[in-house]
Point group: C2
Chain length 423, copies 2
């Protein structure tokens, strides 16, 4: 895309009430726009990165047998009354509204109830199990405070997968698989080395649930991490009994400030029993289905990456979730040769499936490179009069802050461009 057609402009200042560093950068770079606290529009650059994260999550969910669907935001209270969660004291983040006929309805904060109910049409026997439906869905949560930018939204895109199994054993097998899939996702998004499997409190059907906590000063959580055992506990379950059970010594634990970038939870019969999702076992018994739930906030993940992979000049995306593959910057916009070469490179790369943001604007060098640093596309090619004269151009990697000198023929070589300037 030509940058002259990308309608967003960078800005010098973020709104004064925006305290989160990632939100400040994302606003200044033109990725998001704050509509109200915890409610953000995704501008074209922001949507591109969000969609890339979504695609990484989708690929990893499909790989372990996930089947994508899409539940609704509007919720019938009847179902939620059966599990006790319609009550604002039990679930304290409901937005509620009314149909024209005065019937009260809610906006979903999570989807255990409607999905469990739906599955009654499709699960009747052990032959129908296990199944792993998931969705990307906009959740609404009426948070009292929302000061962490897109890391804690009142309206946000979430991936939620639910597992339906015939037994705890079948459930446990999947639970281990999805743990691994989650780490693959964090790894691919560039925060694998800062994300820790963290024990947190469970429910009636398992002592613990697991959070994936990513180290960042902007986090709202505290965890205690064992570098040698590569597990952590959150402060909810940080006590002698739990440490003993997990074989951890206080002395080996490092305290870290973190943000939760995912969680997985054994639900057991918590929902299938009250909502009567019952199946026939191999042995001819009737039993509630054994369930689990597995969430990743897509917007939050994007916020956490922006928080960690950025510097004082701006964002610095890994290639995997960079809004474009290449930022082509013509720094000699007035020069005919420079425009001609830049146009040729743009056409060539774009026509060959490389996603290029081409800065063809009539702006000065300083402003263009400043904007490029702020926007943080992973790979940058700089074209200008000096390069044309010397035959050497800058191929810059934003994340590593490294520059290689490359020739015109290298730039035009698709394999070379795909391989070089990488993170």
């Amino acid at each position: 895309m030509r940058q002259s057609k990308l309608f967003t402009k960078t800005r010098k200042e973020a709104p004064k009430d925006e305290v989160s560093k990632s939100a400040q950068l994302l606003i200044k770079a033109g990725y998001i726009k704050k509509e109200m606290a915890g409610v953000y529009t995704m501008l074209p650059l922001g949507l591109r990165t969000l969609q890339k994260i979504q695609e990484i999550v989708r690929k990893n969910m499909n790989k372990i047998g996930g089947v994508e669907m899409n539940l609704t935001a509007l919720q019938d209270p009847n179902l939620w009354e059966k599990t006790g969660r319609w009550d604002d004291k039990v679930l304290d983040v409901w937005f509620k509204t009314k149909l024209k006929n005065d019937t009260e309805v809610g906006l979903a904060t999570t989807h255990e109830e409607p999905l469990t109910n739906l599955m009654k049409d499709h699960i009747s026997s052990y032959n129908d199990l296990p199944v792993y439906p998931y969705q990307f869905q906009t959740k609404f949560r009426n948070e009292l405070r929302a000061k962490s930018g897109i890391m804690r939204g009142r309206e946000f895109l979430m991936k939620d997968l639910y597992s339906f199994s015939e037994s705890k054993e079948q459930h446990d097998e999947f639970y281990e698989k999805i743990k691994k899939a989650y780490f693959d996702i964090y790894e691919e998004c560039g925060i694998g080395d800062k994300t820790f499997l963290t024990f947190s409190s469970g429910g009636s059907f398992s002592k613990y649930s697991h959070e994936f906590q990513t180290e960042t000063d902007a986090g709202e959580d505290i965890i205690y991490y064992s570098p040698s055992k590569k597990i952590a506990v959150n402060d909810e379950v940080y006590n002698d009994e739990v440490l003993k059970e997990l074989g951890l010594e206080k002395s080996e634990l490092v305290e870290k400030k973190t943000a939760e970038t995912g969680n997985i939870f054994t639900l057991g019969e918590r929902f299938s029993e009250p909502l009567e999702l019952i199946f026939d076992t191999k042995e001819g018994e009737r039993k509630p289905v054994f369930m689990g739930s597995y969430g990743i906030g897509i917007g939050r993940l994007m916020g956490v990456v922006a928080e960690i992979l950025s510097d004082d000049k701006g964002l610095a995306w890994p290639e995997s979730i960079s809004p474009f593959d290449v930022h082509l910057v013509n720094v000699s916009g007035d020069n005919e040769d420079s425009v001609k070469l830049s146009d040729e490179i743009y056409e060539h790369l774009t026509q060959n499936g490389i996603d290029v943001l081409y800065d063809d604007r009539k702006k000065g060098v300083g402003e263009k490179l400043g904007d490029a640093d702020l926007i943080g596309i992973s790979k940058r090619i700089v074209i200008g009069v000096k390069g044309i004269e010397s035959g050497e151009f800058d191929l810059y990697n934003r994340l590593n802050d490294k520059t290689e000198k490359v020739s015109e023929s290298q730039i035009m070589n698709l394999e070379f461009i795909k391989k070089n300037g990488n993170n």
Copy 2:
């Protein structure tokens, strides 16, 4: 995907309160689930078709310069008060709810106000124009009645594009382009020949707006169509004055029952003036931006196609929006050779990028073929003992109801399968 892993089951009956034929079929075939009137979950098959329609719309919007973004559902009343549309008497389909601090917020039914406001950050001069942001966004509309299945939802996915132009002339040029793009979309979705450009009432800035009306008994609208001039008027503007202006004679007009599958609207300064989206013209004047809006309900379009392209056995999708490319049905599930050959075909086609639903279930022939007719995937390959013995298998086209006899080697030939059995 193996059908044994697709968790949805077909059903014999739709809910009794579901009067729309398309919704009945989509529910019976396992595409959608009714959560409440006008609120439908997209099951895996439904989501696949919805996403294919979305992709067709996206491609055509990008082609004419559309830039994708994503606005929010939650809305700040302040903006809407400036245009007078916060008032339930003016916009009568609001869902309203409250933040924890008792501030009232709304759920967006459309997005002129927030987008016009957002553009104030990005448009200041004629150099910044024209721009064409668009989104796929879940809209909420508190309809009094919602009896037409996914053709009139209370919660539904919509594509809305907004144009920002420096003059009526620049606007008109784009308006003609998007008209053509819309017809390309209907054509690709298989309802091009039944969709008519229809004049309807405009606003202060243009006498008419345009609807795209698709002929179906399930429609809620009436239009008057001229087969020779290929335009129609809706009943709102069906009067002598309008007919004279458009050069239409009553005698040439055919009355048709239709559903609106899109609309395009010249907004002019209706929103840019009260919300102060002002730019510097080439001549150094200050003027409000000239706007237009362009909607297509993605769910509604899916519903209308289902209404038109179906028969008493079930749905019959065109290839372009069929949830899978091929339905591979093993009708001799107990037979080892038949399972072996079906498995081979499935692996071969899937590994080569053909999207196959493979009916590997332990069910009888009648049930399998009945389900296949109901689900309506465009191309079907039937494998069974009889075929293995004779060396001839059925390649069936669901939409045209035509069967070709093909050999095993033809089935394994990717080019052959892509070309044959097509609509």
